[in-house]
């Protein structure tokens, strides 16, 4: 029995009877067994729950109740999505042992689609970070080089998919937290249009920026996973009512006749030469395939990072206020309620979370609001206007996903600004609310993956996936990481 390594392939194999959902799950669990000691992609593997779900999926399919492309497929969830009765921590000490009483909407949708939830993956605490080193439960590592980071904050999800310990995974992307780790692990990562995937049950980092999306091995798989989770949700007031595009409609349609904009501002200083040349080669290939390529300038992108590091921490400072020891999670006792709250938060939050909560509290304070938060909102409006103008001229924008390939573990932990620069290419799409995705296009000379970013206007997923599929085809990227295996 050979186990396919894509969702689409597994879906076909399940239906032609060559594998069962239990086989798929066992292959994933075996892979996790062999790699978790090196990668630490998962915080919690739900073996019993997953086996029960896989058996049910097989029985369902045998009974003729086919729930669609995700039926029986093992999927991993970033541990900031609530799962009923299954520990959900957001990689924070403050939520150690927390068992949510409800499923996030994306989890409900995955269950309804017949997916098998393997477990919860590691992340930077409350999704704050770009390396998955800010996890209270220890860092994750990159399957391509276990001395390097997998990116973040959805590093666990990306590492699990790259390593084969899940067929696909969900991540969340506030400033690049799906796309950057996808880039660093040679996987496909999608941040959909803001409002298309419900945030109900996603532990909030920055509500106006957070968006859940898929991490998979192929562009087609990403489309399948996205279609399963998105759609209007009355429980999320910011949810987009519809109509929704079809991301799979134009896969394979090529790029002939499309206008592709190369963003001037997302190149130059700080970008590794191997990354820049790989991206330039891909742009040239797209042009050969019939796309019109133009250089476009979006001056506001230069200040996007600064605006982001005011808006995201400001929202986070308020979103994280609820972790106070009163109702759930960690409680550190004190003489008074205030002291209990302060001690709980002091002990429960890691240093990066504390840094951002302080930054955000300051940015919102009376007397500073207008100079910081207010100014950042005006920059955000300028970015939206800039992007809207450019999307009048081109169909998609392209750039590197990350200025660098995976960096060494520990290299940036003491330099927050260097860490923040990891997201310089991805942040603008969060601020504008537009969709963007990363597709692997090759390896550098050290054998580390390079990601190519495709950005589209809001609800432009069909064109975005169309271009991404062509990038994938042209890159012909099918390398798999070789992880030094230590049997547990």
């Amino acid at each position: 029995m050979s186990i396919p390594n894509t969702i689409a392939g597994a879906a076909r194999a399940l239906r032609d009877g060559s594998v069962t959902a239990v086989d798929l799950l066992e292959s994933v669990l075996e892979r996790a067994h062999l790699t978790e000691a090196q990668l630490h992609a998962y915080l919690n593997i739900d073996r019993d729950g997953a086996r029960a779900a896989a058996e049910a999926a097989d029985a369902d399919l045998a009974a003729g109740n086919d729930r669609g492309p995700l039926h029986g497929i093992p999927i991993a969830l970033k541990d900031n999505m609530c799962t009923r009765g299954l520990e959900t921590t957001a990689a924070s000490q403050i939520l150690a042992g927390y068992l949510p009483p409800y499923d996030a909407t994306v989890v409900t949708r995955l269950r309804e689609a017949g997916a098998v939830i393997v477990g919860k993956t590691n992340l930077d605490e409350f999704a704050m970070g770009s390396s998955t080193e800010n996890s209270a439960y220890g860092p994750s590592f990159n399957p391509w080089d276990i001395t390097r980071v997998p990116g973040g904050s959805s590093g666990g999800s990306a590492a699990a998919v790259a390593a084969g310990s899940a067929f696909g995974a969900l991540g969340s992307d506030t400033g690049g937290s799906i796309r950057q780790p996808a880039s660093l692990t040679g996987t496909v990562g999608v941040k959909p249009t803001y409002g298309t995937v419900s945030r109900y049950g996603l532990i909030a980092f920055a509500s106006s920026l957070d968006q859940i999306g898929p991490i998979t091995r192929t562009v087609e798989d990403a489309a399948l996973l996205l279609q399963a989770i998105w759609g209007h949700d009355p429980k999320d007031a910011t949810s987009y009512p519809g109509p929704y595009p079809d991301p799979a409609a134009s896969l394979g349609a090529g790029v002939d006749g499309l206008r592709i904009g190369v963003v001037t501002e997302l190149a130059g200083e700080g970008y590794e030469p191997a990354v820049e040349s790989a991206v330039a080669d891909m742009v040239a290939k797209l042009q050969e395939e019939g796309a019109t390529v133009v250089e476009v300038s979006l001056p506001s992108f230069e200040i996007a990072l600064s605006a982001y590091y005011l808006i995201a921490p400001a929202e986070a400072s308020s979103n994280l206020a609820r972790f106070d020891g009163v109702r759930y999670g960690l409680r550190v006792d004190g003489e008074t309620t205030e002291e209990m709250m302060a001690r709980t938060r002091g002990q429960g939050f890691g240093p990066e979370v504390v840094r951002r909560v302080l930054l955000g509290t300051y940015a919102l304070s009376a007397g500073y609001y207008d100079a910081f938060y207010g100014q950042a909102q005006r920059v955000r409006a300028a970015i939206r206007a800039d992007v809207a103008r450019v999307f009048g001229e081109v169909d998609v924008l392209v750039s590197p996903t990350s200025p660098t390939v995976a960096f060494s573990a520990g290299a940036r932990v003491d330099d927050p600004l260097a860490m923040y620069l990891s997201d310089i290419c991805t942040i603008p799409s969060n601020l504008s609310g537009d969709p963007a995705m990363s597709v692997p296009i090759g390896l550098d000379e050290q054998g580390l993956p390079i990601g190519f970013q495709v950005m589209a206007p809001s609800l432009g997923e069909e064109t975005m996936f169309r271009v991404a599929a062509e990038v994938e085809r042209l890159a012909g990227f099918d390398a798999r990481p070789e992880i030094p295996v230590v049997a547990g």
Binding site: P101, D236, S318
Partner: protein, 482 residues
């Protein structure tokens, strides 16, 4: 020096919607603690708010009743502060763009109409409830705090008046009028004792004639209109005494102590709280299209002020108009129906707010057998002398008891007055013949003897004669035989 008080009132109105402001939990204050809760109103990780349409209709109705402008796109903000009974440690409220703004409420004090500006009315959510146990329930000595989140997320409307109020009495009338409006709209239980409507007052003083505002003190914890008035009176006097003694007033929050009859400093550092307001990114702007506003406007009931004016126009004096306006809907309905059936307003008012209301209180039941037509008929019976005023009360009892139309009740109970001249003439002659000495005294100029004679005729007829007519007949008879 002569001082002027400057008073503004902040009112919190708990809306009586079926479900909470941002989740589907039932609003029910009698329920066991923490039974009407869900991930949203408990502030669990990942939960998101979705606004309640009924609550928005409630605030629009309040805004319209207070003559406010309704904002087409208002914004929900987060008010950030840490408190154990505030589950998210921020309250979803409104800040610079509330649903309602720039209205007014006219109040009548000592026959004068005063217009109090309404700065704004905004939508927010209520907090949970803390109960401190051990050591007398004081927070600083309590051994534990119990939290009940049933109230968490209940829709609240905050109405902020402009500092246009000049006396404690005006403040009381403003509060009473606002409560009456909210009750009339049916959007809240509007019960002070239960806290479903709460009033806080901002009080300052300034020299008469000054346009500047003095140091403002907020007073809280007034659980009745009387305590609101007393607290403000006390506070004005306290501030004047302090300033005249050369003390400097501090901006602070003071607590009204009902028993001691004074306001006490809560010793909180004012001005130190920075709520870090910002637009709630979990919610989109609240859009209220003009046609929705008009739809709500068209369903507004008659408000107390409009009603008082209408009653006054029907011929009631101001005091009666006010009493009737504050009466139960049943009484007011019967009043309107009685007038439609031709009854004069003062008589209808007297019967309904007098005898009928007394009967309702006494029997603790609704006057289901009474109609406006029957009220009018009863008044007609009295006015035409068919029954006496005293007998009419008995007729009313019968009608209320379900014995039928007033006329039928009067006949069945044998209460119809004898008002046939011929029938009475015999009785009059008999009485005059039997009381010749009284007749003599009358003729000698002792006018009041006629009362005795009338009484004798009434006795003769078993009390059924129309005394007015008897009086008339006696006078005619004595004059004619003179």
């Amino acid at each position: 020096m002569s001082w002027e008080a400057v008073i503004g009132i902040e009112t919190h109105v708990e809306l009586s919607t079926r479900s909470k402001m941002f989740c589907g939990c039932v609003v029910d204050f009698g329920a066991a603690p923490n039974t009407n809760v869900c991930p949203v109103c408990l502030g669990l990780p990942g939960a998101l708010p979705v606004p309640n349409r009924k609550a928005i209709e409630g605030i629009i109705a309040i805004g319209l009743a207070l003559n406010c402008e309704i904002t087409e796109r208002s914004v929900f903000h987060r008010k950030n502060y840490f408190y154990a009974d505030l589950p998210k440690n921020y309250q979803i409220s409104q800040y610079d763009v509330p649903v309602c703004h720039d209205g007014h409420l006219d109040v009548e004090v000592d026959g004068q109409t005063r217009r109090v500006g309404i700065e704004r009315a905004h939508m927010e959510e209520d907090t949970g409830k803390s109960t401190h146990v051990g050591d007398g329930g004081r927070i600083d000595a309590a051994s534990a705090t119990l939290l009940d989140f049933n109230r968490s997320g209940v829709p609240l409307v905050e109405v902020v008046s402009r500092p246009d109020i000049r006396s404690a009495a005006e403040a009381r009338v403003y509060a009473q009028e606002l409560r009456a409006i909210v009750a009339e709209l049916g959007v809240s239980d509007a019960r002070l004792e239960e806290g479903s409507i709460r009033f806080d007052a901002n009080v300052s003083i300034r020299p008469e004639g000054s346009e500047e505002l003095g140091t403002k003190v907020e007073i809280k914890n007034m659980n009745s209109f009387r305590s609101l008035e007393r607290a403000i009176e006390f506070e004005i006097a306290r501030q004047i005494a302090a300033v005249e003694a050369g003390e400097e007033l501090v901006q602070e929050t003071r607590h009204w102590d009902e028993e001691a009859g004074e306001t006490l400093s809560m010793r909180t550092k004012e001005g130190s709280s920075d709520y870090r307001y910002f637009a709630d990114p979990d919610l989109v702007p609240l859009v209220v299209p003009a046609d929705w506003v008009e739809e709500i406007r068209s369903t507004l009931p008659e408000l107390p002020e409009q009603r008082r004016k209408r009653y006054a126009g029907l011929g009631l004096d101001p005091k009666s108009a006010e009493i009737l306006s504050a009466s139960s809907p049943v009484i007011r309905g019967l009043f309107d129906d009685a007038l439609d059936a031709g009854a004069p307003a003062p008589a209808a008012f007297n019967w309904l707010t007098g005898e009928v209301t007394a009967w309702m209180r006494r029997t603790e039941s609704e006057p289901s057998n009474l109609t406006g037509v029957r009220v009018a008929a009863l008044i007609e019976l009295v006015d035409t002398g068919v029954v006496s005023a005293t007998a009419a009360k008995e007729v009313l009892e019968g009608v209320l008891a379900g014995e039928g139309e007033p006329r039928a009740v009067a006949e069945a109970r044998d209460l119809v007055q004898v008002s046939d001249r011929g029938e009475l003439a015999g009785a009059v002659e008999e009485v005059l013949a039997a009381n010749s000495d009284a007749v003599e005294r009358y003729r000698g100029g002792e006018e009041k003897v006629i009362g005795f004679l009338v009484g004798q005729v009434m006795r003769q007829t078993g009390g059924k004669a129309d005394p007015k007519l008897v009086n008339e007949l006696i006078r005619e008879s004595l004059a004619g035989n003179g």
